[in-house]
């Protein structure tokens, strides 16, 4: 006989403010098999949990219902509470009286109380059919995969490796470093970005526990926490990095010149290239699309007519160590991992959408990252700020904020958080480059919330004379060599026109290309902007809803470098915690198949998305289905596919769900 205890939480006034707790308790006392009812001001607090533990022991309760906040919030906490009193943690059911009741029916206390009573009645009915469940121990591969070699991924990889575990860092570009490597200085300290990043990149390359796979992508992910099986595509580099010493002869002599993605089109690179001087690994890859010899080979193979491209081979001839290897092909390796940290970073919002600003049409309208490259000593202009149109030095530079951010129509609704700060930084650095330069910054609100951020923005105005104009820019058009920026200054209430030599658009941050596809491969979800969704925005910011898959950096949303690094370390801490045990306890809420009722039609095998069911022969020679519990994710698809009702799902059995329906 079930002896059920019902505990109603006030949650301060969150629940008690709308739901009449006493009435709910009175109703609970009359519910079948309920022998004890109590309430708590804060059930999740230590005293609250203690009172439950004592009540369980004192009243010999063998089932517990807690009417409180969403089970997605404190189910784990309350399971531990119940377990501490010696009761199986799965003999617990939580009635969602806050998110699904008091908070959403605040206007109508009568209806809210009636609903609360029914939600408790449903939880009592469900828990009365609950059975004790026991997690299983499954093996764990203590090896981590970090996807994305930006600063967040680098930090995560280093911390996991320092914790003593094997790490594989996969980066799809030829070098790690991500966007931070492209920056000149970082706010608010004006540290040289490369100076603080490059040592970490070298650490990654030299760390004995880290295997660095650049020019490689994660293609397929199977398995589950502790036992991921990942297929990694190694794109053909056509250069044998074991022989190459990175002497640079090849990329200095390569005749094929094309715009460098790293310099955002302002500089050039060769077909065999390293993206930037401090690249890690400092060894080149061949861009097979633009390499003249590859075009020659393709032309010969397909036997096309027309002019035959030259049979170049300069890099092969000049290479002192014979590292060029035309035979190299794409390869796929399958590796085992226990945890995955996703740090795929961001990309800048493409301002071309804003035709009125002329991005992409007027050469002197550039993005923030392009200005970074111009100001960078190792950039295409070795740090000399010039107008891309005629190479002259700009005197008047106008900054336009929120390009793509805070704009529901053409851009994204969110604020990209870092643009205000890097506009201030650019204004300061331009003044240092050339005291004659006058910066104008059109802004809506200055967002400088970090440490020393506000002071930094003030210095840009007071010490470096940047002129902040509160208003949006309506149009930019060229006029005899200058760019006329029409905007308004809402503080003085008049339109403003500035003849600028250079216009810098503060483009916002959006997820890196292919983020949605990566989410599907990792079977994590992403929001409407394709940023990955963390398990809980406040309480589990670096975890996902898929156990064993963690997140770090701007792939979750716009954030600055300190946050990316902090999250890299946080994700690493989570991985280290996961790897600190030798085995993992599997979630016992998996499917079960009753061999007596099973008729061997094996439709469940077809329906199972995780291939967690296979067929087996019973002692009396019948073929029936059987669940592989370690692979089963507990979705319950097999249960609704099974006609004779042989399949069931622990924790959400047919009996339990029917019991919830039947008490309405």
């Amino acid at each position: 006989m079930a002896r059920i205890g019902v505990f109603i939480c006030h949650c301060g006034t969150n629940i008690a403010g709308t739901v009449d707790i006493a009435e709910v308790m009175a109703a609970a006392e009359k519910m079948p098999q309920v022998v004890f009812v109590d309430d708590n001001k804060y059930t999740c607090s230590e005293p609250g949990q203690a009172s439950i533990r004592d009540a369980i022991i004192a009243n010999r309760l063998n089932r517990v219902v807690i009417g409180s906040c969403s089970p997605r919030m404190h189910e784990m906490t309350f399971r531990r509470t119940v377990a501490a009193a010696g009761l199986n943690p799965y003999l617990l059911e939580i009635a969602n009286l806050r998110e699904h009741c008091s908070w959403v029916h605040s206007g109508d206390t009568v209806a809210a109380t009636a609903k609360a009573i029914e939600l408790v009645r449903m939880a009592v009915a469900k828990v009365s059919r609950a059975e004790a469940l026991f997690p299983k121990e499954i093996g764990l591969t203590k090896r981590a995969l970090v996807v994305g070699g930006g600063v967040a991924g680098i930090q995560a990889a280093l911390d996991i490796a320092d914790a003593g575990y094997e790490v594989v860092l996969v980066e799809r570009e030829p070098s790690i470093g991500g966007h931070m490597a492209q920056l000149d200085k970082t706010f608010p300290t004006l540290d040289c970005s490369a100076c603080i990043l490059t040592p970490k990149m070298v650490d990654v390359a030299q760390h004995p526990k880290i295997t660095l796979l650049t020019y490689a992508e994660v293609q397929k992910v199977n398995g589950f926490v502790g036992n991921f099986e990942v297929e990694i595509l190694h794109k053909a580099k056509k250069v044998d990095h074991s022989k190459c010493t990175g002497c640079g002869t090849c990329w200095q002599k390569c005749p094929e010149k094309l715009p460098s993605e790293f310099d955002h089109g302002l500089g050039q690179r060769t077909a065999i290239y390293i993206p930037f001087a401090q690249a890690v690994p400092p060894k080149p890859v061949i861009d097979t699309e633009h390499c003249r010899y590859m075009k020659y080979l393709e032309f010969m193979e397909q036997g096309k007519e027309g002019k035959k491209p030259p049979q170049c081979l300069i890099c092969e001839k000049l290479c002192p160590t014979g590292a060029i290897d035309w035979e190299q092909q794409d390869q796929v390796s399958t590796e085992q991992f226990g945890a995955i940290v996703v740090a795929t970073g961001y990309q800048a919002f493409d301002a071309a959408v804003y035709g009125e600003y002329g991005a992409g049409r007027y050469p002197d309208v550039i993005s923030g990252l392009q200005l970074e490259r111009l100001m960078n000593a190792s950039g295409p202009t070795s740090g000399e700020v010039i107008r891309p149109s005629d190479g002259s030095h700009p005197q008047t530079v106008v900054f336009v904020s929120c390009v793509g951010s805070r704009d529901d129509q053409k851009g994204r609704s969110y604020c990209s958080k870092v643009c205000c700060m890097y506009m201030a930084k650019h204004a300061i650095m331009l003044k240092e480059h050339d005291p004659e330069i006058q910066s104008y910054i059109f802004y809506i609100d200055i967002r400088a919330g970090g440490k020393d951020y506000e002071e930094f923005a003030q210095r840009a105005q007071e010490e470096y004379g940047a002129l902040y104009l509160r208003g949006r820019v309506s149009k930019i058009y060229p006029q005899n060599g200058k760019l006329i920026v029409c905007g308004e200054d809402s503080l003085i209430g008049r339109p403003v026109e500035i003849a600028a030599d250079l216009v810098v658009l503060a483009t916002g941050m959006i997820p890196s290309a292919g983020a949605a596809e990566m989410a599907r491969r990792l079977n994590i979800s992403c929001d409407s902007n394709n940023f990955f969704i963390e398990a809980h925005p406040k309480l589990r910011p670096v975890e996902t809803l898929t156990d064993g898959v963690f997140l770090a950096g701007s792939c979750i949303g716009p954030r600055d470098i300190p946050e990316c690094v902090a999250q890299g370390s946080a994700a690493a801490a989570k991985v280290a915690a996961l790897f600190s045990h030798d085995t993992l306890t599997s979630d016992p809420m998996t499917a079960t198949i009753d061999a007596m009722r099973c008729i061997g039609c094996l439709l469940c095998v077809e329906a199972c998305p995780f291939n967690a069911i296979d067929s087996l022969v019973t002692s009396d020679g019948r073929t029936v289905a059987g669940v592989i519990e370690s692979v089963c994710e507990g979705c319950g698809l097999c249960v609704s596919t099974c006609r004779p009702g042989a399949a069931n799902l622990r924790g959400f059995t047919q009996q339990q769900l029917l019991a919830e329906v039947m008490v309405l």
Partner: protein, 136 residues
Amino acid sequence: MIEGYQPKIIGFLCNWCGYAGADLAGTSRITYPANIRVIRVPCSGRVDPLLVLKSFQRGADGVLIAGCHPGECHYVEGNYYTRRRFALFHPFLEYLGIEKERFRVEWVSASEGKKFSKLVSSFTEELAKLGPRREA
């Protein structure tokens, strides 16, 4: 609209999207009518047509299934089966005399709290217009 008639809705919400969306409506304090009783299921694919039928028989005026948007299922393919199963079961219930407005299968993601609250409000309104179900 019958005076004082409050339609009763049973909602099978998938833990990862529908239920999370409802939670978000809660944390965002978006009010909606108190006519829905939520039953949490791991995936919308877990909902057995038998449960929907027993809900109607037990006196539900409306049944809602809220799962993840196709392609976003936490279990990768769960909602594809939901879509097929109830694309067939829905007209079948209608064929047996249960008005098609009484049964809805919707895709509500974890970030669509507002959509969930609007869904419950419009469903309650529609059911109020339809009036209570006759006894089987």
